[in-house]
Symmetry: C3
Subunit: 443 residues, 3 copies
């Protein structure tokens, strides 16, 4: 399987550029938590992976929540009385507060200003705002635009509908040898914002494409859902299946140029938590691992106490730590091909660890087996120093007592997981190792 | 309930000054481990709280110890042959080694010197010495006084009695909803010394007064006892009740201007240990937390292996780390109103945590409840950043799975306990939270 | 018993010098994993301790290994055609790769060079090389010697035999009150190398001599074995007895001037691991404690997963960290009398801890006993400050609840083990302490 470094730099570069081009296709669509923008996005994903699209009616009870009315928007603007669009939805879909109710009215500037959102500290950027659960309307604009609104009255129009309809999400399952599942979740509810979260959609989609061609011990479930209400809806409709989810990742903000961040699951010591920590530690790069907090993305729902799933969140710069977050500056320039490719490579490597993290039994547990006669050890003795593969063989033998998985051994030995996995393979070939109980031989 | 910061600075200043004035009243009394000085002290405490005074006869067996003879002193001096008192008990009751046997004798300076104690390094200070369990006598004086003793002979008098009598201590119980008790213990055996331990007597007394007016989940037991033999006597006479003591604090040296210190109970992770650590951490002030050692104050007895009570020791500068300790320099100038008030506020805040540290059950454990529709969450989404109360609500919901108390949640979230307690109250109002098993609803 | 510091410096110096002189006697012998060099070495050890010598036939199966042919060597050289020995086994037994097959042949320099080993970075040193399990032959020489080989042809002779014979090892058991054993293991397979491992042989032998004159709670087993194959052979032949081994040390490289190193057992928290850590911590010297890795000396076998014995490895500079390792520079100048003596003193002190690390029961667990009336506590109270023995008495009493051994108490109190052992003795004398369950009174 592919791990960081095994594909050539050029291969990864091409993959990164392909993701970036695809993000550019998805960028103009006006997504929200419901509506045609989500449907259009899911159809574009369907061109790459055979996604199932689900529609859930407005008004459906999902735990403590209710699926909201469907929102669709056709046009919106603020016009001066000379008929000039001074704020124009056609130029950026961020200009309208998501879920704004329809408006069509002349009003005074003073009245209008109560519905305007700007970022005074970043006067060129348009903020992104939503009002899903409180009926309201508003416009987001750059602070410089606001300063130019000096007329007494304006014509304000939001040509949107907020009606009974559906919440839409996409789901893709890749069966493996086991019914145990790995969940990959990305949200699809943000309009023209690139890092949050077209980057997550792209990495999840490309990960799914790659996994489709791999042998799989685990089954994999990919969710492309509107944030919060989408994960709540999925969990509510799939309560019988939740117990199958053994590991998972929420992918978000994986395209910016910052260092990688992993936010642990609520459990804190789940296999996925340890796999990500292992990868980061051996990456030789700056990274950060942060403890779970009940704030952030859909891991909030997956890690609610009634589920407590082993789902962490993989991103680059955490959302609260870059100024471009939820502004028009989170655009196609903000995400890089290189970061997208590297994020994908981490996800693939994490999958590799989950797939290969088995517990073995040393078949010769009393003293070391004689590795030399099997060609696994240097012939001439006496030199100081250890060789990494010989050490990996010795570690795997020493700790394969049925109580240590390969990841346990990696943590204790400080050797890379893949080196230990290769050692385990070599020892299996020589019948010095057997799979521990609980592992299917077929995998 | 009151916590540091909720009373105005002026209120606390008044309370501190009132404690200091009261300490000045108690200061002149010559206390020891038995005798009328203890009785007089307890009677002054009785003017503030309805203390029960207990008398235990000399000779009573208390575990490995025996209640000693009662010691009372009327006068003592060293006179030169010109009849001048060169050392005079009437000037300072520290001048006589506590429990000195009666003496009335002319003796050579050489003979006398074997009974004199000074502090050569602090030539103006009088040391404090005791000889409770070995019959002896002695005088403590400043080193400068000693240097002036140049005559050949002196008349030495200690007009004291060491006779069958009683050991006296005071006890005050405040019942709560539960029989489980919190113990507050202060020693009352030191003569004219302020920090050690009139400060502890004052803070314990004012804490008791405050608690009398508060709703109480726990019952509270205040002990005003002679050090070591007093706690041993109480424990010996109350073995049936000891098991009720779930938490406790020994209060000592709580009036000096140094930073606060908490010495953990022998258990090290008791609720009181964690409550004090939490308060210190969030105080924004310098402080220190030290591990239990079997040396110090009455926590030595409460934490003996046969009891192993969750009793820690709260003080400011540890006794071994200030030169004024057990000298005449531990006087009314050494303790400050401000420190006394702050020490009291920590005790009250610790009590608040013990009272409010309950385990709740999230009534909507599958996914987050929709806080917005209950007015508990911001309406307009999209901004980065968290608000402390919203985070507190999310933390309480996320960890209220029946296995985490509010203090557990405070430790994991790094939020102040009181913020979480307020969040829990708000969630209780909305029926999103219920008290976990084991909590009485009435409290 | 003896601990570091109790013998005078002069005594230890004499012992160190005696060890160094004995190492000088053992130095010239050409040892390997089998053969007469091992037998001669064991006979010299027998002059000091009544070692049992075991012979195991070539071809014997020992777990995954087979006892190899016996190797003996009489002479070896490389001669130029003028008949001059340019490399001469009689000058250093390191010159021949251990287990070289017999050779007697004229050959070209090019052909010869394929069998020559040098250390270009250390041009004056001869390396030490072995080829036990792959039939081969070779010479080790200094790089400067190699540079002088300029002739076209040389006469090469290794007058050795590789024949059916025996593997030889020595064993010495010292019975104690308990059948539980402490294992001390040193390898005896290295030719003229001093630190690795004549130092280990010497310290093990002197430790055995000392232990023979001591009362013993544990039984002690000393093994003098060829590395790897020797420990594997012993373990294979003594599988019934292995379970008796409760603690152990591999001694190796204990004579160089570097700081002491302890490599923990695979368990990591065994009593021997904690005893060594305690000694190091209180030594006031630089030292290092390293985690177990499955590479090094015979602890690899003792700590293989089928045995997982509590056996650590005591050395000074770790083998991979000094350039003299496995070269002719590991000679009589490289080991010092002082280091040998200090290493022995650590071993004795570790034995003392194992012998004395008992769990006691405070006979007066409710409150402190009155130490003063038993003469165990100062008479005049009031002074600040603690005395080490009084603190030791208080700690032993406080923690002797049946769940803390003396070593547990040492770790928690940060007092030296021996101070606590003395305190326990004093408390036993006064019947304030009793041995906990599981301890034989006779010990």
């Amino acid at each position: 399987m592919s791990v960081p470094g095994t594909k050539s730099g050029e291969d990864w570069l091409q993959i990164g550029e392909e993701m970036h081009r695809w993000i550019a296709e998805l960028f103009p669509i006006c997504r929200s938590i419901t509506g045609n923008g989500v449907r259009e996005t899911l159809r574009l994903i369907q061109k790459r992976i055979p996604l199932t699209i689900q529609e859930v009616s407005s008004g459906t009870k999902v735990f403590d929540w209710t699926v909201p009315l469907e929102w669709n928007i056709r046009d919106a603007f603020i016009k001066n009385l000379r008929g000039e669009r001074v704020v124009d939805f056609r130029k950026s879909n961020l200009h309208v507060v998501s879920y704004s109710r329809p408006v069509n009215q002349r009003m005074s500037l003073a009245e209008l200003k109560e519905h305007l959102y700007t970022l005074p500290d970043r006067p060129d950027w348009i903020p992104y705002r939503t009002s899903y659960y409180k009926e309201s309307w508003g416009f987001c604009l750059s602070h410089n635009q606001l300063l130019q609104l000096v007329d007494k009255e304006y014509d304000v129009c939001i040509n949107a509908s907020l009606t009974e309809g559906h919440l839409t999400y996409g789901e893709y399952c890749l069966p493996g040898h086991m019914q145990d599942e790995v969940l990959i979740s990305a949200h699809v509810c943000h309009p023209s914002l690139c890092n949050d979260n077209l980057s997550g959609i792209a990495v999840a989609t490309f990960l799914a494409q790659w996994l489709g061609s791999q042998p799989r011990r685990y089954s994999y479930r990919f969710l492309f859902i509107p944030g919060t209400i989408g994960s709540i809806t999925w969990l509510s409709r799939n309560q019988q299946q939740v117990a199958r989810i053994k590991q998972g990742l929420v992918l978000t903000g994986v395209g910016d140029a910052g260092p990688c961040t992993y936010k642990k699951s609520r459990r804190g010591d789940a296999e996925i938590d340890r796999a990500m920590a292992h990868l980061f530690k051996h990456s030789g790069k700056t990274h950060s691992i942060i403890d779970f907090i009940p704030y952030g993305y859909d891991e909030r729902q997956y890690c609610s106490p009634g589920f407590n799933l082993a789902v962490g969140c993989f991103s680059r710069t955490p959302h609260s730590q870059y100024p471009e977050y939820h502004t028009s500056a989170d655009n196609l320039n903000f995400v890089t091909s290189q970061s997208l490719a590297e994020s994908l490579s981490y996800c693939q490597a994490a999958v590799d660890i989950l797939e290969e993290n088995k517990t073995y039994l040393n078949q010769n547990p009393h003293c070391e087996p004689q590795l030399g006669k099997r060609g696994l050890y240097r012939a001439i003795g006496g030199q100081a120093g250890e060789k990494s593969m010989e050490m990996a063989l010795l570690w795997v033998l020493n700790l394969s007592d049925g109580r240590h998985s390969l990841l346990d051994i990696a943590e204790r030995s400080n050797l890379p997981f893949q080196t230990l996995a290769q050692a385990a393979s070599a020892l299996m070939v020589h019948s010095l190792l057997a799979l521990g109980p609980g592992h299917e031989l077929s995998s």
